[in-house]
């Protein structure tokens, strides 16, 4: 008996499969591409294959993320806020605040003692301060996403990127490159600007320890460090921060299946 969570985000799609005891038996991460339904189906098939599981053995499936409504085989859809909270609290039970920076959304969620969502705040319609912003900047600087964090740690000079909008910020970065500003300093400034965009969300909800970061952007050590400075304490980062939403969805699938019986 297996339980499945599928998180179809704007940039990436993740599937997590749990066994009856709630242990992760398999997971899969891929990019969403143009069609969220196909992305969900492929991701699901890949996770089944890597766990050696037949579809008939799946008991309950919960879909989450932007594309959640386009997954026809899901038994239930749940929003990513609820799923991220569930996943983060499962991994770090003392979590009271979750900072999730995903592809085109960033959010701060506060959870109550019993692990329920107490309040949350999300970015406005602009993509600045999200994974998409980081992708644009990586391209402008011609470096890989995974190198951004370590490289930014070598920065020696504080500069700032003040533009509110992704397109403006990109041209600001390009002109910094043209002036031969060291890449590590530019990266440091980019990370700071993402942290600045998150600050009002943190203020709106209020930060209570412990803080857990989820979403692909949590892989960027430079940003995690900036947020650590801002909140003034330790930040939990899961080993695979990208799958926390899908994990939460799978955990909810397991609860719902138990409930239904």
């Amino acid at each position: 008996m297996y339980f499945v969570g599928i998180d179809v985000g704007s940039l990436s799609t993740e599937t997590v499969i749990l066994d009856h005891a709630g242990a992760v038996v398999s997971y899969h991460i891929s990019s969403t591409g143009a069609n969220s339904r196909t992305a969900g189906e492929k991701s699901f098939a890949a996770a089944l294959a890597s766990g050696g599981i037949a579809q008939s053995e799946v008991n309950f499936t919960v879909a989450t993320g932007y594309g959640r409504v386009s997954i026809p085989f899901a038994d239930k859809t749940v929003t990513e806020i609820t799923c991220h909270a569930r996943g983060a609290v499962h991994l770090f039970p003392a979590t009271q605040t979750i900072i999730d920076v995903g592809g085109q959304d960033s959010k701060v969620i506060s959870v109550s003692q019993d692990g329920k969502v107490a309040d949350f705040s999300m970015n406005d319609k602009c993509a600045a301060g999200t994974g998409r912003f980081l992708e644009v900047m990586a391209r402008a600087l011609e470096i890989g996403l995974d190198r951004m964090g370590p490289l930014s740690m070598r920065s020696t000079r504080d500069i700032s990127i003040s533009s509110m909008c992704t397109v403006f910020a990109e041209s600001e970065v390009i002109s910094l490159v043209a002036r031969a500003t060291p890449k590590e300093d530019i990266l440091n400034a980019i990370h700071q600007s993402i942290c600045n965009r998150l600050a009002p969300l943190m203020d709106a909800v209020g930060i209570r320890m412990e803080v857990t970061m989820t979403g692909g952007v949590a892989k960027n050590t430079g940003i995690v460090e900036k947020i650590r400075e801002k909140v003034g304490g330790r930040i939990n980062v899961p080993e695979e921060p990208q799958i926390v939403g899908a994990l939460g969805a799978a955990l909810i699938a397991r609860d719902m299946s138990a409930h239904a019986q």
Partner: protein, 414 residues
């Protein structure tokens, strides 16, 4: 869910409303054809009663904008206005009406016959900056119209003093003189009293209808808020009173039978700021999860009674109070009004529409959010949209936020 769409209405009176709207616009066109003077004015002030009492046809550009949005004409109007150099960041009512008068208005075949050209423009000196600028732009577009430059002190309602009222009374007299000169028509005091009485009656009915919304389950949701059409365009007429009476009777009957919008009403919501006129169907979206939008900013917008025995003073007070009731109000007053509504309508959660097109009403929403949580323990969610321009609205973003909010509210209640 679609980006644009009409709401699913449940009141029988909704059909009646379509007739009332059509009739009004037909009347506007006929007035022009018959040589009756036509005056364009901003909404929510005491001039409408004077116009009706003097048999001058009032036309409201701000009401025409939601109609354009509902008929899908707004984008064309925006293109014209933006082509003229008006920025996309300006109020959507402003861009829509300016685009309309310079574009579609010159063509045949507009729904409801379009708007008749103004003989008179009541150009406001207050309200909000965009509404002042709309009329200044109209003055240039219609150089032959006679312009009444209106003036009103911009004071928060709680700070209105006798000298403000005296000044507003003087302004009403000045308006009457202006209209007499411009049209050759005289104001009959008995007729004015009659009109003010009808206007007061419509406010009374409005409040009564709103009172029934307090019932659990509520018989009336924001999906039906289009009834405010008569408060904007028909105040002071028998049409408004008759229509609101029909609505009141239906809502009263539903209440008596314990019939709600939803059989299983789980979550009661408040909507802050103007609805998305191009997508009133959003109000039905919550219903799938057991949520119903019970009250909104406009619920209290016409909670103003008029003293029939002192009609001029009543209209002066109405002018001072009613537009500011929704837009140019002090932040304290806004917070107070939302808190009051949330208590009266037993609200579980508030949706704060951060409206790119209307900064005056958007101002103060963070204070509202904090006050709701601190004083009533009511959570709220901010959503980004625009009451006129669908290009500033993403269905997916909306759904992610409100669905998560509904999940949170349902979990809190369980």
């Amino acid at each position: 869910m679609e980006k644009t769409g009409k709401s699913r209405k449940r009141l029988r009176a909704a059909k009646e409303l379509n007739r009332v709207v059509t009739e009004y616009y037909v009347e506007c066109g006929r007035a022009k054809a018959e040589g009756k003077p036509v005056g364009w004015m901003p909404p929510m002030n005491g001039a409408i009663e004077i116009f009706y009492a003097m048999d001058i046809q009032p036309v409201f550009p701000e009401n025409w904008s939601p109609i354009c949005a509902a008929f899908g004409l707004a984008e064309r109007n925006f293109e014209v206005a933006e082509g003229m150099g008006y920025s996309r960041d300006l109020c959507g009512y402003m861009r829509n009406i300016i685009g309309y008068v310079h574009g579609l208005m010159k063509e045949e075949g507009t729904p409801l016959g379009g708007l008749p050209e103004p003989d008179i423009l009541l150009s406001p000196g207050g309200g909000c900056v965009p509404v002042i600028k709309i009329f200044q732009a109209l003055e240039r577009r219609f150089p032959n119209a006679k312009v009444y430059p209106a003036d009103l002190p911009q004071v928060p309602t709680e700070e209105i003093r006798q000298h403000h009222v005296d000044y507003a009374i003087a302004e009403i007299h000045r308006l009457i003189d202006f209209l007499s000169q411009a049209t050759g028509r005289k104001l009959d005091q008995d007729r004015l009293k009659e009109v003010v009485k009808l206007s007061d009656r419509s406010c009374e009915l409005w409040d009564e209808i709103m009172t029934y919304r307090r019932r659990i389950p509520t018989p009336f949701s924001a999906a039906e808020i289009g009834i405010m059409f008569v408060m904007v365009t028909r105040q002071g007429t028998q049409t408004a009173v008759d229509f609101l009476t029909t609505v009141r009777d239906e809502v009263k009957e539903k209440s008596a039978q314990g019939l709600g919008v939803l059989e299983q009403e789980k979550i009661r919501l408040f909507w802050d700021n103007i609805p998305l006129w191009y997508n009133m169907g959003l109000f039905n979206h919550f219903e799938g999860m057991g949520g119903v939008v019970v009250a909104e900013t406009y619920s209290s917008a016409w909670s103003l009674r008029l003293d029939v025995n002192r009609p001029i003073e009543a209209l002066a007070l109405k002018s001072l109070k009613s537009y500011p009731m929704v837009s140019c109000v002090s932040v304290d007053k806004r917070v107070e009004m939302v808190i009051k509504a949330c208590k009266e309508y037993s609200i579980d959660g508030a949706i704060l529409h951060r409206n790119k097109s209307c900064l005056p009403i958007t101002l103060g929403q963070m204070d509202i959010k904090r006050a709701l949580e601190a004083e009533l323990g009511i959570p709220s969610i901010v959503i980004d949209a625009d009451h006129m321009d669908s290009r500033n609205f993403s269905v997916e973003q909306f759904r992610t936020r409100v669905d998560a909010f509904m999940e949170m509210l349902l979990a809190r209640k369980s």
